[in-house]
């Protein structure tokens, strides 16, 4: 029986409740705007106005330069001769909103970072200094502080103590409360020498005593790395984010190319109109007004996405953390969205991991119930899950529990006999076991194996089930069918993965015949039977050669090569150190189906970026209709017909556009932080849906928004 199954079993045991006080629990959900995050973020937003910080975000840097130039223009106008027909208060209002645009952008980034920091803070609380009982070379125990531990040190941890650092159990078995890092209250079993030997610092030993070899130095534990990641200290921009930043810079350049020539073009119109109207005094329009052209530029360049891009990335990382996944880089999270193939272990992931009796098949004179009764008797003292499931199945068929006579003797399973059973005091012997073992038993007892046993056995085996033959003295009574049953809901999960465009592959040690049956039943697309580290690796390489991205979930040391080869490798925190080193993500919950969530988080990250970029560009259309007529109101007043929003005045049109442009940033912060919802609809339907919401919506919304702002400005008598 696998260790995985043992863990399942232990977790389900109702008797195993914790008596110890609850260690600090992590904050799992956070309101968008809390006092703890919002106030520092506001402060930070102003601190981030420093040009050397803005420089890293070309779009917002352009806005800041524009705001600064407008400021200079205002100072010049205040102390020099006014050059424009427009009042100075218009320029001041313009400049205030330009600065606010930068501040809002900073606020979005700062808020995302503050939320990360708050989460890190709650993690840090569980990382507090603890006592460690270090085992010296001469096996003496030394009581030291956990901060003094170095990789390679061995520590003893017994029930009621906190594990002082990340490590691997080298001897012993213990039940551990990992709620401090996973938020999951059910205790888990960790055992030396198994695939579940990894322990994390800050978790709590509930029972037994273990010796742990520490694998990480102080400041380098998982918790430390998590804290580092969320605080953005080692947050590197992912390739997609860099690519998008580049593209946004190029778009900014394009709009610079559009706006700069507007000045001479507007001047041309002014010159002509002077002649047309026959006036001598210079005719000025907003088209030759530098602050207004700056406002136009700021409205056109993709400020919305430029402002929120960093926040989206940080929030994606944070969402992964909230799902208890530690990604080693933002790239890994993002790449999860691109996954084409998912490799999953059969045992413990797709199936429950232990076999259950599902039916009794009689032979000869026996009835199904007789077989059941014999099987139950043979299993009465069998403590293995298989044995218990036989008894349970017999009772669930409406039979009264079997009783065994006082002096009957239980024959336990052994690797030699491959049978177990019971000997009654009256000499009656009942056995259940592997078909060939039982056949030998029958022949030894002088009986005869009926001819129709073979097809029955083969039939069960071909369906992926395990046949156990039941015999009574020299006679074959029938067969028990044991099946490793699927976890509930797996079929739906695979269907969901398929809808997301992922192919699922089951890895199993079973023979191909059995594997194909289980694969068909579970609804996976493919399987690797009789899996070895080599053929797993080979399979991944083959898929990658076809251009596919492969995700793999693993826990054992023998998974390490395949994990290293896979594009997205998710190791279970309970897994061995080798597996965790080879993976680029670690799942603290050690939940094998977590890959689905990982993929969804990756997809959501990309969708959010795409949606806000599309929205940002689509917004520009309406702004043009507000600004172009306003620019030329002084020279080509009939262009007013283009102003389909019918705005109050040229200055109110431009102010409304720039205010809308600024306000949309904080308005979209929740979307950036929560992410645009991902629905597995298939790419075409998803694209259609998002194009309608963010593309078409992005075109329409600003028409409404700008008009509303204009109405409010006029209503408040803020404009002449």
């Amino acid at each position: 029986m696998s260790t995985t199954a043992m863990v399942e079993e232990t977790q389900q045991k109702p008797g195993m409740k914790r008596e110890k006080p609850k260690p600090p629990k992590r904050v799992k959900r956070m309101a968008l705007f809390t006092k703890e995050t919002t106030l520092p973020a506001i402060k930070q937003a102003f601190a981030m106005l420093r040009p050397d910080i803005q420089w890293k975000n070309p779009v917002m840097f352009v806005v800041e330069v524009g705001a600064f130039l407008t400021l200079l223009y205002i100072l010049k106008a205040l102390f020099g001769a006014p050059e424009s027909l427009v009042s100075i208060s218009y320029f001041i209002a313009l400049d205030v909103w330009l600065w606010l645009t930068v501040v809002f952008a900073n606020f979005a980034t700062a808020l995302a970072e503050a939320r990360g920091k708050a989460q890190a803070e709650s993690l840090r609380r569980s990382r507090r200094e603890t006592r460690a009982l270090r085992l010296g070379p001469d096996e003496t125990i030394e009581d030291i502080s956990s901060t003094l531990l170095r990789p390679g040190d061995r520590v003893v941890v017994s029930a009621g103590f906190t594990i002082p650092g990340d490590g691997e159990i080298i001897s012993g078995i213990a039940s551990i409360d990992e709620s401090a890092i996973t938020g999951e209250s059910a205790p888990v079993i960790r055992e030396a020498g198994s695939d579940r030997s990894g322990v994390t610092g800050g978790t709590f030993v509930l029972s037994d005593r273990i010796v742990v070899r520490i694998t990480s130095g102080p400041g380098d534990s998982f918790l430390d790395r998590m804290i580092g990641l969320v605080e953005g200290a080692i947050r590197q921009r992912s390739p997609n984010e860099i690519a998008l930043t580049l593209a946004l810079s190029a778009m900014t350049l394009i709009f610079l190319i559009v706006v700069i020539p507007l000045w001479p073009m507007a001047w041309n119109a002014e010159q002509y109109m002077m002649g047309y109207l026959g006036i001598q005094e210079p005719l000025k329009s907003l088209g030759t007004d530098i602050p207004t052209l700056i406002a136009l530029l700021v409205c056109l360049i993709p400020t919305t996405i430029g402002a929120l891009l960093a926040a989206i990335g940080i929030a994606g990382m944070e969402r992964a953390l909230r799902a208890n996944i530690i990604a080693k880089s933002g790239k890994a999270v993002e790449m999860a969205g691109d996954i084409d193939v998912v490799l999953l272990d059969k045992t413990g992931t797709i199936t429950m991991g232990h076999r259950h009796a599902t039916s009794f098949l009689p032979l000869g004179k026996y009835k199904a119930n007789d077989v059941g009764q014999l099987a139950a008797l043979a299993s009465a003292a069998d403590e293995t899950p298989e044995g218990k499931s036989i008894v349970k199945l017999y009772e669930s068929l409406g039979n009264v529990p079997v009783t065994t006579p006082q002096q009957s003797q239980f024959v336990p399973f052994s690797a030699q006999t491959r049978m177990s059973g019971i000997d009654f005091p009256n000499g009656r012997r009942i056995r259940k076991g592997a078909p060939d073992a039982v056949a030998r038993f029958i022949q030894e007892s002088g009986g005869r194996v009926p001819d129709n046993l073979r097809p029955l056995v083969d039939g069960a085996a071909s369906k992926g089930a395990t046949p156990l033959v039941v015999a009574e003295d020299g006679q074959v009574a029938g067969m028990i069918v044991l099946e490793d049953i699927l976890k509930p809901g797996m079929k739906e999960r695979f269907a969901r993965l398929r809808k997301m465009g992922l192919r699922t592959v089951m890895i199993t040690g079973d023979n191909p015949l059995t594997a194909s049956t289980i694969a068909a039943e579970a609804g996976v697309d493919d399987f690797i039977a009789e899996a070895t580290p080599e053929n797993k690796l080979e399979y991944i390489r083959k898929e990658q050669a076809e251009g596919k991205l492969v995700a793999m979930m693993g826990d054992g040391t023998n998974d390490a090569p395949a994990l290293a080869q896979a594009d997205v490798a998710l190791a279970m925190n309970a897994g061995t150190q080798a597996a965790k080193e080879a993976a680029n993500m670690v799942d603290l919950d050690s939940d094998p189906t977590k890959l689905i969530e990982t993929v969804e988080i990756g997809k959501q990250l990309l969708i959010t970026r795409g949606a806000l970029t599309t929205f940002s560009i689509a917004n520009d259309v309406a702004k043009y209709f507000a600004i172009i007529p306003a620019l030329f109101a002084g020279t080509l007043p009939w262009l007013k017909l283009m102003d389909i929003m019918n705005l109050h005045s040229p200055t109110s049109a431009i102010l409304s556009a720039i205010i809308f442009n600024a306000l949309i940033i904080p308005a979209l912060i929740p979307v950036a932080l929560k992410g645009v919802a991902y629905k597995p609809l298939g790419a075409d339907a998803l694209l259609r849906r998002n194009l309608l919401i963010w593309g078409a919506g992005g075109v329409i919304l600003p028409f409404v928004g700008i008009k509303l702002i204009d109405v409010v400005l006029v209503g408040l008598h803020l404009l002449s």
Partner: protein, 607 residues
């Protein structure tokens, strides 16, 4: 209803012909077409071996350099060359530079008048040779891009591609078309001009003796010249008046054939793209998007020009008043009152007939105007300057978008840029790193696409701005104000789109080098337009080839449920939206200052 018959017939015929043509094109470009042995011998001599993208681009630039030097020599030596019956002199150096650049890049923007300034030798060895050769360059560029997308081992050989395009495709088709033009009445002669007695006595004046002067009519090898002018989407006219001239476009049938001819290859190339990539459905989507835009430009032009009267001749009343800000006027505002205008006594039920050739039908001028810019042909059969102001927006939009089928190869390449940008931005909304043809689009590819895309607005808006604010532009325009602005913007749009059609009305002709009274601003126009043409020609071909090469080098991911499909209706809308929104964002201000201001403004305003 008959107004719509011509455009529908043109579009339908060309679409039907494009299908078999595309099959033939992909066979030829993949080297599956077995040419006659003699031609193959030449092809093998030209083959300088497989090329990577840098070598391919290098060969292309080398070839263009040779083309430039040859063209410059032909025009500069015109007075000493044969077939110059009218003893034409040498063009001004700046005009030669502009013309050579213009013809070598398939632009064919003409700052000269062919019938007045070029000998038959120049028409053949400068004009006609460039028609064949320049037309094949964009074609080769597209084929190189396709091979890069397919991740072929190499991009083929530029010289071989060139040979295949010119000899196996252009020559036979233009021969067939030439016979049709000959039959319809186009001259085919090496004579420079014929002397005829005018029907009305003395209409050309009289000699000292009182005899009526004869009219001298320029002729030449037109039946050979015109087919390739159209097939290669060149558009450079033999005559100054281009396809409005009765010898260059004798009948309604040749007008129809001209339209079909110029659209044939641009249509076929889109389908060839799909065939060579084995993604025919994808190219159907692109084709449909392009066709939608083309139909829109045709409808716009025909509706506003053929179904609406010339606003300059209609009544304008009652008087309109506008307010403009003013520093001196009381209240800071000055009121502009525009008086009502009485109509001119002109029958306008056939729409705006100014500058139209009625031989072709009423909607032929507007239809031709829309089509010739969509496919960057640039030939004209009507005066674009005389289109109704708002109708003139149609040809301008065609040039600004530059991907409504576009020139051979380059139009499709431009559309690829929009596809890459569209996928890069909106494609993320399916939750995967954006990918095209299974290749992930990274920062480098998006950057190259955006650079190639920004050349066009840069080369239109900056020169337009500079010329609009200086004497270079103001003194060259025939009408001041919005219309003159349109003239300037149109000229640079035509140059940057490598289109070559002219709005006219700009004084840009220097003429012969010894011309005593050239247009005052002809030299700056020659130089500026030539520079715009060069930059807008080569960067938008080279950058996409590089982009395709980088994309092609990436691993190709198979299509799945989660991948963005490029052959669906949704994708079509994504592409249409990308083109329309980017186009509007780049050029709406120019449109507002030019055609829209003129349309909405009062009459008389800006001429």
């Amino acid at each position: 209803m008959d107004i719509w018959l011509l455009p529908v017939a043109i579009l339908a015929t060309t679409t039907v012909l494009a299908f078999p043509l595309s099959r033939y094109l992909s066979l030829i470009m993949d080297g599956k077409y077995l040419a006659p042995r003699m031609l193959r011998w030449f092809e093998e001599r030209l083959n300088s071996g497989p090329q990577d993208w840098k070598q391919y681009v290098g060969s292309m630039l080398l070839f263009n350099t040779v083309l430039f030097l040859f063209g410059f020599a032909v025009l500069a030596l015109q007075p000493w060359m044969p077939l110059n019956g009218d003893a034409k002199g040498m063009l001004a150096p700046s005009t030669i530079f502009h013309s050579v650049v213009s013809f070598m890049t398939n632009t064919d923007l003409q700052h000269y008048s062919g019938d007045q300034h070029l000998s038959n030798f120049s028409q053949i060895f400068f004009g006609l040779s460039n028609f064949f050769l320049s037309a094949s360059i964009g074609f080769c560029g597209l084929v190189a891009i396709i091979r890069a997308f397919r991740s072929d081992a190499h991009l083929g050989n530029f010289f071989v591609d060139m040979w295949r395009v010119v000899v196996y495709m252009f020559l036979p088709i233009s021969f067939v078309l030439g016979v049709a033009f000959l039959q319809q009445g186009s001259p085919m002669t090496f004579e420079s001009s014929v002397q005829v007695s005018t029907l009305e006595h003395g209409v050309m004046g009289t000699t000292n003796k009182g005899d009526a002067k004869q009219q001298s009519i320029v002729v030449g090898p037109l039946a050979a010249f015109v087919p390739m002018k159209q097939l290669g989407t060149n558009g450079g006219g033999f005559y100054g008046m281009n396809s409005a001239h009765p010898f260059e476009n004798p009948t309604a049938l040749t007008n129809f054939l001209s339209c079909v001819a110029m659209m044939l290859f641009p249509f076929g190339l889109v389908l060839m793209f799909g065939r060579m990539l084995k993604r025919l459905r994808h190219s159907y989507v692109i084709f449909t998007v392009m066709m939608t835009l083309m139909i829109a430009t045709v409808i716009w032009a025909v509706y506003y020009d053929t179904l609406k009267p010339n606003p300059g001749l209609t009544a304008h009343g009652p008087a309109q008043t506008f307010e403009v800000p003013s520093a001196t006027a009381p209240g800071g505002r000055r009121t502009v009152t525009l008086p009502s205008v009485a109509p001119m006594p002109v029958d306008q039920h056939l729409g705006n007939l100014e500058g139209k050739e009625m031989r072709f039908g009423t909607s032929a001028g507007a239809t031709f105007a829309a089509l010739t810019v969509d496919v960057t042909d640039g030939a004209v059969n009507a005066e674009h300057d005389s289109l109704n102001p708002i109708a003139a927006l149609s040809p301008m939009v065609g040039m600004w978008l530059n991907c409504i089928f576009g020139g051979k190869g380059v139009g499709m390449i431009n559309m690829l840029l929009y596809i890459i940008i569209g996928i890069f931005v909106a494609g993320m909304m399916v939750g995967r790193t954006p990918e095209y043809l299974g290749k992930k689009i990274g920062g480098r590819e998006a950057k190259l696409a955006l650079i190639a895309l920004l050349v066009h607005p840069l080369m239109i808006l900056f020169p337009t701005g500079i010329f609009a604010a200086t004497d270079w532009g103001i003194k060259a325009e025939s009408n001041p104000g919005a219309h003159g602005f349109s003239q300037i913007a149109y000229q640079f749009s035509s140059a940057s789109a490598n289109n070559g059609s002219a709005f006219d009305g700009l004084g840009v002709t220097y003429g012969f080098a010894n011309n005593p009274a050239p247009a005052p601003e002809a030299v700056p126009w020659d130089l500026a337009a030539a520079l715009v043409i060069i930059v807008s020609r080569f960067l938008p071909i080279i950058a996409p080839i590089a982009m395709a090469a980088y994309l092609g080098a990436k691993k190709s991911a198979p299509y799945g449920v989660g991948t963005l499909r490029d052959d669906t209706v949704t994708f079509g809308f994504l592409l249409l939206g990308t083109v329309v929104i980017i186009g509007a964002l780049l050029f709406l201000p120019v449109a507002a200052l030019g055609p829209i201001a003129e349309h909405l403004g009062p009459i008389p305003f800006g001429g």
